[in-house]
């Protein structure tokens, strides 16, 4: 059982943080980020060419994180690899002791730095979950052929409570859980009202009992960053009141941290929220402060 799974099983409020690999081969970049946040999170979630920008692979970065003594969550997106490559990388990562996997569709390549590339989408995130679950539980590949060895994998998926059609979001979450998701990482929460309503529906469907839901948060450094979140990032809703608050802030960075900490405090009170996932994009160094301020430090012992 992965440490993250064990913490969630014990009913502790989990904290994970996102780590973005570099656009190059410098493993020190990942090592430094891991060193900064190691004691403050239960696992680091390593992105897989996020926003379709080529970076050091999630798989390799996960091994670097493991070397630093921190448990990785390996993101796997369906944009760049077909079922052959996805299954192969899953086996490879399992063989190296990676135990947490987050299955995502992946941002469209037109949003990244190789917009002329072809996408794959041989399978979608729900199908990927089902494939990995069957590899672990039934010991079979997608084609039904048997595979050898024990697989220890804690499987996760994303949830987007703020994207349209809103009414479909709980149905989709239910599908992800029935396909094999044991933990869920949500898109960043800024609008607690919408998120609370989403969680109410989630509880009504009993989904909070079937998977551990980690609410996503993003600390923002500036008014322009918050506005960017509000206007440009798909699936993110930022209430105008937060923008107003940021406008008046004397120290935007400090205000960004405060908003993030307050959001976490509110999220802790929502029934069914089992942890938070901090996405401090290019600002990983702020994670310790947020975790401490949100009274989530020290972290529980890892098994």
């Amino acid at each position: 059982m992965s440490a993250l799974q064990e913490i969630l099983r014990r009913g502790e409020f989990a904290v994970t943080a996102e780590v973005g690999p570099p656009k190059g081969v410098n493993r020190e970049v990942i090592e430094k980020k891991c060193d900064q946040i190691c004691d403050f999170v239960d696992a680091v979630n390593i992105t897989d060419n996020q926003t379709a920008i080529v970076r050091l692979s999630s798989f390799a970065s996960c091994l670097i994180a493991k070397d630093k003594g921190i448990e990785p969550v390996m993101q796997m997106v369906c944009r760049d690899r077909n079922r052959i490559a996805l299954q192969s990388d899953f086996l490879g990562a399992c063989a190296w002791g990676v135990e947490n996997f987050l299955c995502l569709s992946g941002d469209h390549q037109s949003m990244g730095n190789h917009p002329q590339s072809k996408n794959v989408f041989d399978v979608d995130s729900i199908q990927l979950l089902q494939i990995l679950k069957n590899m672990r539980d039934e010991k079979v590949f997608q084609n039904g052929e048997p595979l050898k060895g024990e697989i220890k994998a804690f499987l996760g998926a994303g949830a987007s409570p703020f994207a349209d059609p809103l009414e479909f979001r709980v149905i989709r979450l239910a599908k992800k859980i029935s396909a094999g998701a044991q933990f869920i990482q949500t898109q960043a929460v800024f609008d607690l009202e919408i998120f609370s309503r989403f969680m109410e529906e989630v509880r009504k469907a009993g989904l909070d009992k079937k998977a551990a839901i980690l609410a996503g948060v993003i600390p923002v450094k500036s008014l322009s960053a918050l506005r960017y979140m509000q206007n440009e990032v798909p699936g993110v809703v930022v209430p105008d009141s937060l923008v107003e608050r940021m406008k008046k802030a004397k120290d935007p960075k400090e205000e960004g941290v405060r908003i993030c900490v307050e959001t976490i405090e509110q999220l802790k009170k929502i029934e069914g929220v089992r942890g938070v996932h901090i996405m401090a994009i290019s600002w990983e160094s702020i994670v310790p402060e947020i975790v401490k301020e949100a009274n989530l430090y020290p972290r529980p012992e890892r098994s």
Partner: protein, 216 residues
């Protein structure tokens, strides 16, 4: 129908050598309807080439994708040094297969299989994936119309009913959801669609269809 658009005129000029006899060969079916390669467009292009100094003629045959129609135009085709085909990619290849000695260039870019949505607006509807399941999705094909070909619901990027990658594109999953909701058939979406067999699609290389019952 097959939708196509004419190549930029500069690209067409770049195919041609001064002084040669050019035939602009239109096609009377899909590309006539989408106003890119029919009789009218063939005439316009040949007139333009004429003005630019080429000895240019035009002719339009009913379906360039079928050998017999091409063979009917044999005389005109043989007479020309170079042919600009205003057919879709199928038509250009058929023509070239039956007239291998000719210099042939595509005058159109074939874009997709789609429908005329409004005057001057065409929208893609089908990829020809070889395994139609539109009835499961409110008759809106997610393979073709979702930017990620997702089969189990929308990604996290759908906003106000629009796709995250192009704000003027409807999110296929919003359309699917709306239609099934209206028809009280939302439960269709609860089922997990398994991975598809893409071997019927173009990922399996060139496809062939054999109908023994109609073969001679």
């Amino acid at each position: 129908m097959i939708i196509a658009e004419r190549k930029p005129i500069k690209e067409i000029f770049s195919f041609l050598v001064p002084g040669e006899k050019v035939l602009v060969l239109g096609c009377g079916t899909c590309v006539t309807v989408c106003m890119s390669g029919g009789e009218k467009e063939a005439r316009e292009l040949s007139s333009l080439l004429h003005l630019k100094g080429w000895e240019a003629e035009d002719s339009t045959i009913e379906r360039q994708c079928e050998p017999e129609f091409n063979l009917k135009a044999k005389e005109e085709i043989t007479h020309a040094d170079t042919i600009i085909s205003l057919a879709c990619g199928v038509g250009v290849q058929t023509l070239a297969e039956y007239f291998p000695e000719k210099k042939i260039f595509p005058g159109l870019n074939t874009t997709f299989m789609g429908m005329p949505k409004e005057q001057g607006l065409w929208e893609e509807r089908c990829w020809g994936c070889g395994n139609c399941t539109v009835h499961l999705f409110g008759y809106i094909c997610p393979v073709t119309r979702c930017a990620k070909s997702l089969l189990n619901g929308p990604c996290g990027g759908s906003k106000s009913g629009k796709c995250e990658i192009k704000p003027d594109r409807d999110c296929a999953w919003q359309l699917i959801y709306d239609r099934l909701k209206k028809e009280n058939k939302l439960e269709v979406l609860y089922a997990i669609q398994p991975p598809r067999d893409w071997s019927t699609s173009h990922y399996g290389g060139q496809r062939k269809m054999i109908r023994e019952d109609v073969r001679l």
